[in-house]
C-alpha cells in the first residue's frame, strides 16, 4: 500500500504550529456585535421577574433577550432544553438572559444591569437521591417532551431514560455460583478542557439566511438542532466550522450557538459573537456525567464469570438531551469485553441541578470501565486467581457472544492482553525502592462501539482539478484528532496517488456534504468508507473514459501512481489529468465532463436492540477492544502517586497512520491518568468550587510516564482497508489500570476517582487501624 499504513506527517501541521490555522475566535468581521450572558446564581430557582430596562438603556447595547423570547424546547434525542432558561433555572450558571452590544466591555456591563428576581427551589444534587419518589422534580412536564423512540423517560420522575438489558437468568445463575460479590463505585463529573474554549458567531442576513460559525464537531447535527429550535429551513441555515481546537465531545452538541441566533435575528446584517471563558467552560458548556455504579458478580472457582447484575445511575445534570444516549451506551456495553452468559443491567439517566452532562471521550465507557475493570480484579482475588487469568478466561474470543447477544466475528482481545502483559512485565513483581515508596502494576481491558443511530449516514465528494490534483470534500471534522490526515490517506490509497496531491475541505454545510457527526470514534470508519466509495466512483467514471482513450477493456486498466495504466502492458498509460475535464477527441469534441466522484455510506443491517431486553443481533457497527497496563509508585507518607509507565495495545483493525495513532494513544493514556489522579469537578450544593485551572488540575508534561504504544490488526470486515475507530476506546482502560496498580502497591481498593494524596493517606490510616483492630 502506498498511503494507508504510512506515518504521514499531519497535513495540517504547518498551519497549526505557525498559528496560521483559523479558529472561530480568529474571525473578526465589520460591524460585529458581542454577546454576553446573564447566569443564574442558584442551582434551582423559579424566575419571577427579569428587568432588562437598565441594560437596554446603556449606550452601546443593541438587544437584550430572555427565555421568554424563545420558549421552544429542543434537543438531540430528547427535547428538554432551552438555550435560555424558561420558567425555572435548573443549574447554577444557566443562561437566563443575554445581551448584544457594540463592544465586549459594554456587553459585560449590561449583563450586570439586568435584574432578576428568583424564588429558590429545593435542588437535586445527588442522582441517587434524585431517583427517589419524593425528590423535587426538575422537569415536571417530562411526560410531554418529544423523545426519540429508542429512549424511555419515566413520567413524573427525574429519570429521563431507563435502559434495560436482560440476558439469560441472572438470579438462577447467582444461586449456582461458587462466589457472589457486590461492589459499588463512584465516578465524579469531569470537564473536557479543550485548548480552545467554545466560541461562535451568528449572522442573520436581511433575506433570512442565517450563518453560524462555531467551534463545532458536528456541523450537520448542529444545523439540524438549530433549524428545529428556531424554525429556520435547512437551505437558509449554514453552519461553518473551521479548525476546532479540541472537542473531546464537548463541541458535539449545541451550546452557545442557540444564545446568539436570537440576538442576531434582532440585529440583521450584523454578526454577533460569543466567546466562552475557561470558567464558562467548566460550568456552562458540557461536563462528563457523574456515575454511581453497583456491580454484582457471580463467578466459579474455575474463573468463569457466570452472571453480572449492574445498576448504573448517571448524574445527567439539568438537561439530558444528549446524556440519555450515554446512559444507553453504558448499558449496552455493561458486560465489558467479556463473554458472560447472564447479564442484567439497569442504566438510569437522572436529572440533577448540576451542570449539563454530555458526551466526553469514551461516551460512558471510561466511567463504567473504572468499575468493571476494578471489579474483575476484585472477583479474581476473591477466588484466589490472577486477574490476568480471569480476563483470559472470560475475554471475548472470535465467535464469542457479547452482553447484548451479538456474535463477535472478530476479536483481538487476547492478543492485546498478552501484548500488554509482556510490555508491562506483568510477571516481574516490582521492587519497592524503600519501605515508604511502594510499587505496583495493574492491567485493565476495555471496549467501545460507536453510539450512533444504526442508520447514521456519511457522504464525500472528490473532485479532480485540471492538473490531476484533487479536492476532497467531507464533513468529518478535523478537531485535533488527525482526521484530515487519515482521510487524505484513505483517498490517496484508493486513487493510488501521492497524498500531497489531495487537499481536504470540511466543515461547511452549504458546501461540504452530509456527515452525521464527528463523534463516536466513527470518522475514520464512516467518513473513511464514504471517501473510499467516492474515490471508487471517480475511478469508475475515469476508467469508462480510459477504455476509449487506451483502447483496452476497463477490467485490464488500473489507477497507478497518477496514471491510468494497463495492467499487462505497464507502458501503456495516460496521466489522470487527461480525464480531469472529461475526454477530448482530436476533432475537438469531448465526452464525460469534469471528474467528480461521490460516495455515500450507511452501514447495512445495523439493527436496534429489543426494547424490553436490550438484546440484538447486530446493534453495534463494530467493537474496538484493547488493554492498558500501568506501573505506579505510591509515597505512603505523602500519599502521592507517581505513574511510572503505561502501556497500550488495541485491535485497530488497520492502522491508517501509525504516527497519528501513536499520538492518539499517548494522549488517551495521559488523559486517563488525569482523571485517575487529578480531575474532579468539585460540586457543593450545585456549585462548582474549582472552575479554573487553579484548582482543576490536568496532567502536565512532567506527569507523563514512560508510554509504550502497540497495536494489533485483525481487520474490520466493514471498515475502510479494515480500519475501525480508536480515538475514544484508547482512553477507556487507563484509569482502572492505574487503580489496579495502586491496589497492588498498597493493598487499598479505591472505588472512587480521582485517587488523591488525601484519599491515599486516609485509606492507609484506616488500613492500619483495621490491622490493629
Amino acid at each position: 500500500m502506498r498511503a494507508v499504513g504510512e506515518s504521514l506527517q499531519r497535513v495540517d501541521a504547518i498551519k497549526k504550529v505557525t498559528g496560521q490555522a483559523q479558529y472561530v475566535d480568529d474571525i473578526i468581521m465589520p460591524r460585529m456585535l458581542y454577546a454576553q450572558v446573564k447566569r443564574s446564581p442558584y442551582p434551582h430557582a423559579r424566575i419571577l421577574r427579569i428587568d432588562t430596562s437598565k441594560a437596554e438603556a446603556l449606550p452601546g447595547v443593541r438587544s437584550v433577550i430572555t427565555g421568554d423570547c424563545y420558549t421552544k424546547r429542543c434537543g438531540l434525542y430528547l427535547e428538554d432544553k432551552n438555550f435560555l432558561a424558561v420558567g425555572t433555572a435548573k443549574y447554577r450558571g444557566e443562561a437566563v438572559a443575554a445581551v448584544a452590544a457594540e463592544t465586549p466591555e459594554i456587553a459585560d456591563e449590561a449583563v450586570e444591569l439586568i435584574e432578576v428576581e428568583y424564588e429558590q427551589l429545593p435542588a437535586v444534587t445527588n442522582a441517587v437521591e434524585g431517583m427517589k419518589p419524593d425528590a423535587p422534580l426538575i422537569h415536571p412536564d417530562l411526560h410531554t417532551y418529544k423523545v426519540a423512540p429508542i429512549f424511555h423517560p419515566v413520567p413524573h420522575t427525574n429519570i429521563s431514560h431507563h435502559y434495560k438489558l436482560r440476558k439469560g437468568d441472572v438470579d438462577k445463575a447467582f444461586e449456582a455460583c461458587d462466589v457472589v460479590t457486590e461492589n459499588t463505585y463512584y465516578i465524579p463529573h469531569v470537564q473536557h478542557v479543550p485548548l480552545e474554549p467554545h466560541c461562535a458567531v451568528a449572522q442573520y442576513d436581511l433575506d433570512g439566511k442565517v450563518t453560524v460559525w462555531g467551534s463545532i464537531q458536528s456541523p450537520y447535527a448542529v444545523r439540524q438542532a438549530l433549524s428545529a429550535a428556531f424554525d429556520i429551513p435547512l437551505n437558509k441555515l449554514r453552519v461553518i466550522s473551521p479548525y476546532v481546537g479540541g472537542g473531546f465531545g464537548a463541541k458535539a452538541g449545541t451550546t452557545l450557538e442557540g444564545i446568539i441566533i436570537p440576538l442576531a435575528r434582532r440585529n440583521r446584517g450584523r454578526p454577533v459573537k460569543l466567546n466562552y471563558s475557561r470558567e464558562d467552560e467548566f460550568e456552562n458548556s458540557y461536563v462528563r456525567q457523574g456515575l454511581h455504579c453497583r456491580i454484582k458478580t457471580g463467578i466459579n472457582r474455575d474463573g468463569k464469570i457466570q452472571a453480572v447484575k449492574n445498576e448504573f445511575v448517571w448524574d445527567g445534570g439539568a438537561y439530558t438531551e444528549y446524556g440519555v444516549n450515554i446512559t444507553k451506551a453504558g448499558g449496552w456495553a455493561s458486560a465489558g469485553p467479556y463473554d458472560i452468559p447472564n447479564v442484567w443491567t439497569d442504566s438510569y439517566c437522572v436529572y440533577t441541578n448540576h451542570p449539563v452532562g454530555g458526551p466526553y471521550r469514551g461516551f460512558g465507557m471510561c466511567e463504567i470501565h473504572f468499575a468493571i475493570e476494578q471489579n474483575i480484579d476484585e472477583v479474581a482475588l476473591k477466588i484466589g486467581m490472577d486477574p490476568a487469568q480471569v480476563r483470559r478466561i472470560n475475554g471475548l474470543r472470535p465467535g464469542g457472544v457479547t452482553g447484548t447477544g451479538e456474535v463477535m466475528e472478530v476479536s483481538g482481545f487476547h492478543d492485546c492482553l498478552e501484548q500488554v502483559l509482556e510490555d508491562i512485565e506483568y510477571d516481574k513483581k516490582p521492587v519497592d525502592p524503600s519501605p515508604t515508596r511502594k510499587r505496583g502494576k495493574g492491567v485493565a481491558a476495555g471496549w467501545k462501539s460507536p453510539s450512533q443511530p444504526t442508520n447514521a449516514g456519511s457522504s464525500a465528494i472528490i473532485r479532480m482539478n485540471e492538473d490531476g490534483t484533487f479536492i476532497l470534500m467531507t464533513s468529518g471534522q478535523e478537531i485535533g484528532q488527525g482526521s484530515e490526515t487519515a482521510l487524505t490517506q484513505i483517498a490517496a490509497e484508493t486513487l493510488d496517488v501521492d497524498p500531497a496531491l489531495i487537499s481536504c475541505r470540511f466543515g461547511d454545510t452549504d458546501h461540504t456534504p452530509y456527515e452525521w457527526q464527528t463523534v463516536a470514534s466513527r470518522t475514520t470508519y464512516c467518513a473513511g468508507n464514504a471517501i473510499k466509495l467516492a474515490c471508487e466512483d471517480l475511478k469508475n467514471k475515469i476508467l469508462d473514459l480510459a477504455q476509449i482513450k487506451l483502447g483496452a477493456y476497463k477490467r485490464d486498466l488500473e489507477f497507478r501512481d497518477g496514471f491510468v495504466a494497463h495492467k499487462l502492458y505497464p507502458d501503456r498509460k495516460v496521466p489522470l489529468s487527461d480525464f480531469a475535464l472529461g475526454l477530448s477527441f482530436p476533432d475537438g469534441s469531448g465526452v464525460g465532463g469534469p471528474a467528480i466522484g461521490v460516495g455515500c455510506f450507511t452501514l447495512e443491517n445495523n439493527l436496534n436492540v429489543d426494547h424490553d431486553t436490550g438484546m440484538g443481533s447486530h446493534p453495534a457497527a463494530f467493537w474496538t477492544i484493547g488493554c492498558n497496563g500501568a506501573e505506579v509508585e505510591v509515597d505512603t507518607q505523602t500519599g502521592h502517586i507517581k505513574v511510572l509507565k503505561m502501556v497500550s495495545c488495541f485491535d485497530a483493525g488497520k492502522v491508517i497512520n501509525p504516527l497519528t495513532y501513536t499520538c492518539q494513544s499517548e494522549g488517551a493514556m495521559v488523559q486517563s491518568l488525569g482523571t485517575a489522579l487529578f480531575e474532579e469537578l468539585k460540586l457543593k450544593d450545585g456549585k462548582v468550587l474549582n472552575k479554573s485551572f487553579v484548582d482543576y488540575k490536568i496532567p502536565t508534561a512532567d506527569d507523563v510516564p514512560e508510554l509504550v504504544v502497540k497495536y494489533v490488526e485483525h481487520p474490520e470486515p466493514t471498515g475502510p482497508y479494515g480500519a475501525r475507530g480508536v480515538g475514544e476506546p484508547l482512553m477507556v482502560p487507563g484509569a482502572p489500570a492505574i487503580a489496579n496498580a495502586v491496589y497492588q502497591a498498597i493493598g487499598v481498593r479505591f472505588r472512587r476517582m480521582p485517587i488523591t494524596p488525601d484519599d491515599v493517606l486516609k485509606a492507609l490510616r484506616e488500613q492500619q487501624e483495621n490491622e490493629k483492630g
Binding site: T638, G639, L689, K697, P699, A701, D702, K762
Partner: protein, 277 residues
C-alpha cells in the same frame, strides 16, 4: 473589569504623588499575577492602577557576605531563582522561587509581590521567614524595615501603611546555613502549595517555617526551641514532629483536608531533619 486609569510613574516621588491623590482607590501594580486576577474577578475595582515597574532601582539583586541579599521589588521569580548568588547562598529561596506557578507566570511574578499578596501559602515566604528576612517599605516619611514575621498580619493582610511602597526584600547572610525547602502540591508542576515548608539549620540552631497551615506563613518557634535544646535523636525527632503538628492550625479546603495537612506537615519536618542531620 471596571475601567481604571493606568499610570506608570518614572520615579518613586511620582508614585507617592499618585498614592496621595487616589489614596485607597489607587492600586499598585508590580508583576500583576495577583492584581490582574483580582481585577478580572472583580475582587477589586480601583480608580487608578499605578505600575511601579518603570521606577529605576527596583530591579537589582545584590549580595555581600556582611549585609546579605537585597532583592529589588521588581525582581521576578525566574530572575531570583536563576541568580547564581542566590543559588549558592540561599538555595532554599531559589528553589521556592522556581516552584511558583509556571515559567510564564514566573517571568512576571515578583518575590516582593508574593509577600505583599500575603497568601498563607506564599512559596517564597517560608525560606525568607527562616532566614529572618525583612521588607523595605518607603514612604514620604522615609524608609522602614519590617521583619517578615511582623509583616504578615492575617490572610492577605500586611502591616504596610497607606502611602508605603515596598522597594526591596532584605535577607541576612547566615554563613554555613543549610536548609531544605519542600512544596507539597497536588501536581508537581504549575500548582499552588497544599503545604510548603523550609527547615534551616544554622550555626546556632534550627529555624522552621511553614506555609498553608495558618492564616499567614509562620515560624514554628516551639518546635525550633525543642530542636535547639539538645542534639537530634530519634526520640527528639518524633517529639518535634508531634510538637510541630500541635503548633499549626491548618484548615480543610478544596486542595486538601485539615487531617492531610496535619499529617504531612510532620512528614515534611521529619524528612527535612533527616536530610540535614
Amino acid at each position: 473589569m471596571k475601567a481604571f486609569e493606568y499610570y506608570a510613574p518614572a520615579a518613586l516621588e511620582e508614585a507617592f504623588d499618585l498614592l496621595d491623590r487616589f489614596e485607597a482607590e489607587g492600586k499598585l501594580l508590580n508583576g500583576g499575577t495577583d492584581v490582574v486576577i483580582q481585577l478580572r474577578e472583580k475582587l477589586i475595582a480601583p480608580k487608578a492602577v499605578i505600575d511601579i515597574k518603570r521606577i529605576p532601582g527596583l530591579r537589582g539583586i545584590a549580595y555581600d557576605p556582611e549585609h546579605g541579599l537585597t532583592i529589588g521589588a521588581c525582581v521576578t521569580m525566574n530572575e531570583l531563582g536563576n541568580e547564581a548568588l542566590v543559588c549558592t547562598h540561599y538555595p532554599t529561596l531559589a528553589k521556592a522561587a522556581l516552584s511558583v506557578g509556571s515559567k510564564q507566570v514566573r517571568n512576571r511574578a515578583t518575590c516582593a509581590g508574593n509577600l505583599i499578596n500575603a497568601s498563607p501559602l506564599a512559596d517564597t515566604a517560608t525560606p525568607l521567614l527562616a532566614y529572618g528576612a525583612s521588607v523595605v517599605a518607603v514612604s514620604r516619611e522615609g524608609e522602614r524595615e519590617i521583619p517578615l514575621d511582623e509583616f504578615f498580619v492575617f490572610v492577605r493582610k500586611t502591616s504596610l501603611r497607606p502611602g508605603e511602597i515596598v522597594t526591596a526584600v532584605r535577607v541576612p547572610a547566615i554563613p554555613g546555613a543549610n536548609g531544605v525547602f519542600t512544596k507539597i502540591s497536588r501536581r508537581r508542576e504549575v500548582d499552588l502549595s497544599t503545604l510548603c515548608a523550609t527547615v534551616l539549620k544554622t550555626g546556632e540552631g534550627w529555624r522552621v517555617a511553614y506555609g498553608s497551615v495558618a492564616p499567614t506563613p509562620i515560624r514554628l518557634r516551639q518546635t525550633e526551641a525543642l530542636l535547639d535544646a539538645q542534639p537530634l535523636t530519634e526520640e527528639r525527632i518524633t517529639r518535634a514532629v508531634e510538637l510541630a503538628r500541635s503548633e499549626i492550625s491548618p484548615i480543610s479546603d478544596v486542595r486538601a483536608s485539615q487531617e492531610y495537612r496535619l499529617e504531612v506537615a510532620g512528614v515534611v519536618l521529619e524528612r527535612s531533619l533527616r536530610a540535614l542531620m
